[in-house]
Every structure is written in C-alpha cells, then in structure tokens.
Symmetry: C2
Subunit: 322 residues, 2 copies
C-alpha cells in the first residue's frame, strides 16, 4: 500500500487551522459547548475559575490521588494543596514524579527538568509545572519567537530560516523561526530571547539587545496531534512573544547548539513555497504569517482570509494570561 | 452642582475596554450567555446563522413589517425578502426609509446616503445597508485607518495627530488617526484609503500608493454609548484595515475638508498623554495602541496588560467577515 499522500498545498488559513485548532465559541456555540463539555477544567483551591483543560483520560488518573479533587458532576479537577505557589508547586511535582515513575504518560518520557509558570486572574503565580507536563493540564505556556531578516539594496526582505535538527524530539527536520524557545518560570521574556539568540543562532548579545524590536504576541490554542509526539488530543494554549531583528548583511546566524541543522537566507517567495508545502513547524508558520501581515507582504488584496487570519493569530485565550 | 469629573487617567486596557466593550465568552461563559440572551439575532432567509445582534427595543419595531419575521421563541429576526443581494437590499432600504420617515430612531436622523455591505459565511454579499442604520442591526462594518508618522534624525517617531472638527456629528473635537473612514459597499479597502488620504489630509496619491504599508486589521465589538450620539447600547462590531505611512519631513498633512480642525506632529509621549486623558476617539485609540505594539513602543516590559491588549485589538468577531 502507498503511504497516504502528504498534503502539499496548504493555504494560509489551513496553516492557522492546523495550529489554532481548538474550536471557537463564535463560530458555532452549540458545537463549542459540546466539545468543551468533554474536558475537565483545572482549578486551584479558592480560585473559582479554570486555568486549563484536561482530557477525561488524563483527569481520571488524578482520582483519589492526595492533594487532588476530581468532581465528575461539574467536571472540575482541583488542586487542593496549599495556599502558596511554593506549596502548590511542590504538590504538582510530587504527583508528576509519581506519574512519571509509572510510565503512564508518554509526554512525561520527555521530562525536561524545566519549570513553567501558571498564572491566575490577578497575574499572580499559582504554581510551577514541569514543561513536558503542561499539555497534560492544558495550561497556557509562554515562549519567545524572533524573526531575523535582511533587507537587500533593492529593499527586498530575505528571511533567515533554520531547519530543525532531524534528531530533535519534536518536529524534527521541520522549518523554524530564526530563534524560538520556551520561557522558564521567573524568566523575563526579553532576557529569554537574548539567551536563545546566542544559543540557537550565535547572535551577539549587543546586536540583539540593540536591534530586536518587540512586535506583539501570537496566541493560539492547539490540540496536539501525532506530529508533537506523545499523547494526541492534549490541549496546548500558547502565547509567544514576538520580536523582529533586521540583521546587517555580514551577520550570518549559525547553529549554536545541536537543535538546528542549517540556516537558509530565503526570499519571501521561497518561504511562502515552504509554507504551502507544510514544511514549517505549525506555530512557527503562524509567526511567519504575523511577520507577513505586519510587513505588508500579506494584504487584503492577496489573501482572501485576511481578516480571519489576523484575528486568529491573536486569539484571546480561554484562560488567564500573565 | 459641579459636573461629574471627567476621567483623566485611562490605562491602555481601559481604552481597549471602552471600545471593545462587548463581553467575551472566555471570561465568564454564564455572564456572556445571559448578556447575549437579551438580543435578537439577525438572519437572512435560508442562512442558518447570525449576522448581527439587535436590541429587543429595535427588533420590536420589525414586528408585522412586510419582509421581516420576528421569532420571539428563538429570538431571531429574519429578513425574508428575496434570494439575491439586490432583492434583500431593496427590502432593507424600503423598511429603513419608512422608519426614517416616522422619526422612530435617532441614529437615522444622521442618514448618510452611503451603502455598507453585509457579508455571509462564504464572503458573499448578503445585502447593502444605509450606513447610519448599521448599528440598529448590529452588523459588522468596515473602515480604513492610516497612521502617518515621521522619523527624526535621531530615529524618534513623531505621529501626525488630527483633531476632529468640533462641529462633527460624532466625537467632535476628539483626536483621530491621520486618515480614517468607512468603506462603502463595493469599494476596495486600499482605494478607499487612498481617497480618504486626499480628502482628509491632502496627501498626494502617488506618495500614498507608494508609501502606505498594510499592517493588518484592528477588530473590536463596541457597545455604543452617548459619545456616539443616537440610541445607546446599540451593537457595533467593526473591522478596520490598517496602514502605516512614513512621511518625509517636508510633507505636512492639511485638512482637505471640514472634518479636521488641525494636525499636530506629536512625540510618542505627547500622544500617550492625550491617550491617558481619554482625548482620542475610542476606536482611534485602539489603532494607536496597535501602532505602538508593532513599533516596539508598547512592550511586555512597560505594559502589564500586554498579552490581553494585543489579543483584544484583534477580536474574532461574532459574525462572518469579508
């Protein structure tokens, strides 16, 4: 049997749909309600609002576990431990270490030993959670993405586009933004970006601090697929802080660690062709689209789904954000 | 008695809240449901989805009117006339002319004789509607906004900021974006913007066509207040196409009609001070915020509500858009 043909003609809206795949209330309220009624809402004690969605198969694992209360009637999983971020974080860690030891969840096989922050409605830290476990709880995770580009003498934009190492745990061999990474709990987004620029692209600190221009955020709510590895259908709402960096022609990004195979300096047309072929990591495709929108490359004249795409790149997430 | 003190210390999120004032499902689903349950949904025959929200007091007026069906059980007002945009438009016009003649709605006293387009899910034109009546139906309306700015030798940005004529029907005397206007049905957004640049700021066509850079859309769902004139609480979801135009230092925008009193060339700090004082027309304040985000002026370091603001500037509207 032939393998299923790889989709090779993604529209820009297809790319958005692939990453921002959680349904929208506005499109079909009944379908939306039916869809989210299958999830369990994550809460912490004394906070009467959700901070994440869990699949029933994940929530089930917390039944009877100390520090957790699983309410089937209202479909709410509550972290009952402690009243401080430190106490809650300790309880979450204890549970996750136990789950990891049992090998119950594939995503925990990729344990990173990095703590990510989960915030409440007053932007207060509720608790920290091991990075690989974020999608189990469906909590909002934060990252930094930077697009490095060059402007030719003719004013044409060329975009530095790295290919991820084929050995990388997730999305190996796919195209990426020049620099991208997650934000550890307590880390400043700008400092995180400066660090990643050195690690992933060998870009000098002074150049980055001076030249990187903050350009907003890209937010989306992803339902994980087999492409991400681990359990599928886990929920992953994310917020990426975005920077542009116009590089002088003589600065060549170089892989600084083993996460990147090679950097290409591509014209807009070359990037667009790779986008159409689905070669970009899904959330990186969204960052490229946002760059195209802000730089007048994607316009209402050449993109029939312009309004929809611009909104979808900036989803108002279902849960509190920092 | 002293007049009520004018609010003079708007945060950026206050400015967003003032314009994007329709509730969000994500923030409180129950409150949202309770809130929209008071409205009537506007539909056209053979299209099973809403294209606008009407207040009950507005919907009531359509009871028993030819071409309209008011369904109280499901709270739906359906335009039953015709199967083509032309037939539907004629029926809408006929009804609105009759309503105008009775003087029933204050917003119709500002009849503009401009037709605006209402689109369906397949981006097809469903019907045209007189501009001043848009908020009665709560349908999505479209406009263009352009920010004209100058970059000083030191790289500092200065923003051309007009003050609306004090005699203007709506928001008289408030600050505006350099160029802004509505898009008539059938008009191309870019051509609409070029035309407004000539009319409102005396900017030459060649300069604008060459220099204006498309930068996305700003979308919001406004609940009208007394500031807009006419009935309050009417719903006004809007999509503004956005352009930036960096002007040479020797090009001075000049009012080309009687809509603008004067143009100021203001530093970012001067604009920010006027924003804090609430001097900008509400939707123009959002366009300024979007400009600040894209130009690295508003960042996650100096704006605690950064993520929320960036999302809210790009609301996914409740109804189909072009």
């Amino acid at each position: 049997m032939e393998p299923a043909a790889q989709k090779t003609n993604y529209s820009n809206l297809d790319l958005v749909d692939e990453c921002d795949s959680f349904p929208y209330y506005q499109v079909d309220p009944d379908l939306y309600a039916a869809s989210i009624s299958t999830y369990y809402e994550l809460r912490v004690r004394n906070h009467a609002y959700g901070i994440g969605y869990l699949l029933p198969s994940v929530a089930e694992v917390f039944r009877g576990v100390p520090n957790w209360d699983l309410n089937d009637a209202d479909r709410i999983l509550t972290l009952e431990a402690g009243d401080t971020a430190a106490e809650r974080s300790a309880a979450v860690e204890q549970t996750l270490l136990a789950l990891r030891a049992t090998g119950h969840f594939k995503v925990l096989d990729k344990w990173r030993d990095e703590l990510y922050a989960v915030y409440g409605r007053n932007k207060e830290l509720l608790f920290n959670v091991e990075r690989s476990a974020g999608p189990l709880f469906g909590v909002v995770m934060y990252g930094v993405h930077l697009t490095a580009y060059v402007r030719t003498k003719e004013g044409e934009i060329k975009i530095w586009t790295p290919r991820r190492a084929r050995t990388k745990q997730t999305y190996g061999g796919m195209l990426d933004n020049a620099v991208a990474g997650g934000i550890a709990s307590g880390e400043d987004p700008f400092e995180s970006m400066v660090r990643e620029c050195a690690e992933e692209a060998s870009l000098g600190e002074e150049l980055v601090r001076k030249g990187a221009k903050a350009c907003g955020t890209v937010t989306y709510h992803h339902i994980r697929t087999e492409k991400a590895g681990g359990e599928t259908k886990l929920l992953q709402p994310e917020c990426q802080y975005i920077w542009d960096l116009e590089l002088p022609k003589d600065v060549i990004p170089k892989p600084g660690d083993d996460e990147v195979e090679e950097f290409y300096l591509w014209s807009v047309e070359e990037v667009q062709e790779a986008m159409r072929k689905g070669e970009f990591k899904p959330n990186c495709a969204l960052v490229v689209l946002d760059f195209f929108v802000r730089h007048g490359i994607l316009t209402c004249e050449n993109e029939k789904d312009y309004i929809e795409i611009v909104s979808r790149l900036h989803r108002k997430l279902e849960f509190p954000t920092l």
